[in-house]
Point group: C2
DNA sequence: ATTAAATTACCGACCGGTCAGTTATTAAAT
DNA sequence: ATTTAATAACTGACCGGTCGGTAATTTAAT
């Protein structure tokens, strides 16, 4: 840290972004309830009082983290599904790998696990997340599956019945990473996991005609 | 409530079981950290001080809940896998349906979600659970998959690479049930979910030879 | 340019409430 | 009368949110 001649500086523009960044890190590390606003403020180099100048409550701070970190990624994914050429199996592969790259393997991925962990205790946050993130994500994957059915690559099924099942191994790997992974439990390497997952799913989804 | 002549009774034998039952219910409903020992004691009809006569700490109380509720089920599953006759696909079906019956669809299932939710904040509990429950469960499922490979029903793969992937949709459904389900998010009915899951997995696992 | 007044970003002590764990006391059982 | 299961009051640490005061910066007057 650079040692300033002054005790602090006015940086009205930079504060919100620095606070959401600090909040993301600590929310992911400790969860929503267990993260103290004192800590977030300290991590961002301000005091707790300052935090309240920019966000009206802990909950609003959290929502800001989600809006900033997750909604742009969803928008990107929607573009990808709408425009991707080639077979549905290839689209599926790309979605999986890209999702792991930008969500699974990034701090923001910890938010998903946090939601499952604390939805019951913070229903307002859960509802916000379900509407803004989960619904959009489900539509995205269902559209990709539908493309495979339409083209005959995938057997006929109701995409809405399968989105959760198909996505679960990815979500579960992410949950695992942010929970038991930290406690020295053995796990399969990510590249193996993703490869075997994609193969299992494509075999399970493909149509019977050879 | 029956009105007792006395303000309370000495019931040394019954207390531990009543306390673990109350603890299970509240831990599942609110999570580990958010459940107050006052509440558990009240639910069991005693005071908080009494709880400490039978369990040395919140953590030990939790471990007792797991030992009492989950370890007998694992033992039953191990017997099932060791003795079940018939093809591996049928064994897989039975394991899935039975697991949902005794874990997924029972209060004790909430413990699994709790572990994922709070492992990071309570590493000692996570390690205990990983050793006593998860390792045993993984061995159980891996053995069932191995049987299918040996018999030629399943294609060749490393069962240890696939256990997490295969089990994820079940685990995820359970996590969902104890988190976002409570917040009015639409979900597929359980029977449809399980049927589609089993079909997807068996198609994904079966060997190519017809 | 210099200085002084006005503004406001920021600090940090504080409050009300919560909760795991302890202990002094009471009362049931024999 | 003695033993001990059970109670209830208590402790100390913690935390979300508030608020009076302070200091960095801006503006206006000379």
């Amino acid at each position: 840290m650079v040692c300033p001649a002054t005790r602090w500086r006015r940086r009205k523009e930079a504060r919100p972004q620095e606070l959401t960044a600090a909040a993301l890190e600590l929310f992911v590390e400790k969860g929503y309830a267990a993260t103290r606003l004192d800590e977030i403020a300290a991590q961002a180099g301000v005091s707790k009082g300052t935090l309240y100048l920019y966000f009206t409550s802990k909950e609003e701070l959290f929502k800001a983290v989600v809006r900033e970190g997750l909604l742009p990624l969803l928008a990107e994914g929607e573009v990808l599904v709408a425009n991707a050429p080639g077979p549905a199996s290839e689209l599926f592969r790309v979605i999986v790998m890209r999702w792991w790259e930008v969500v699974g393997d990034n701090p923001i991925g910890g938010i998903s696990k946090l939601i499952f962990a604390e939805a019951r205790n913070f229903p307002e946050i859960a509802r916000f997340y379900a509407e803004e993130v989960i619904e959009r994500g489900k539509r995205l994957l269902a559209a990709a599956l539908q493309r495979g059915i339409d083209s005959g690559e995938f057997r006929p099924f109701n995409p809405d019945d399968l989105v959760h099942i198909v996505f679960s191994p990815l979500m579960m790997r992410l949950v695992w990473k942010h929970s038991l992974d930290c406690c020295g439990v053995h796990t399969v390497p990510v590249d193996v996991y993703l490869r075997e997952y994609i193969e299992l799913m494509l075999r399970g989804l493909r149509s019977d005609v050879v």
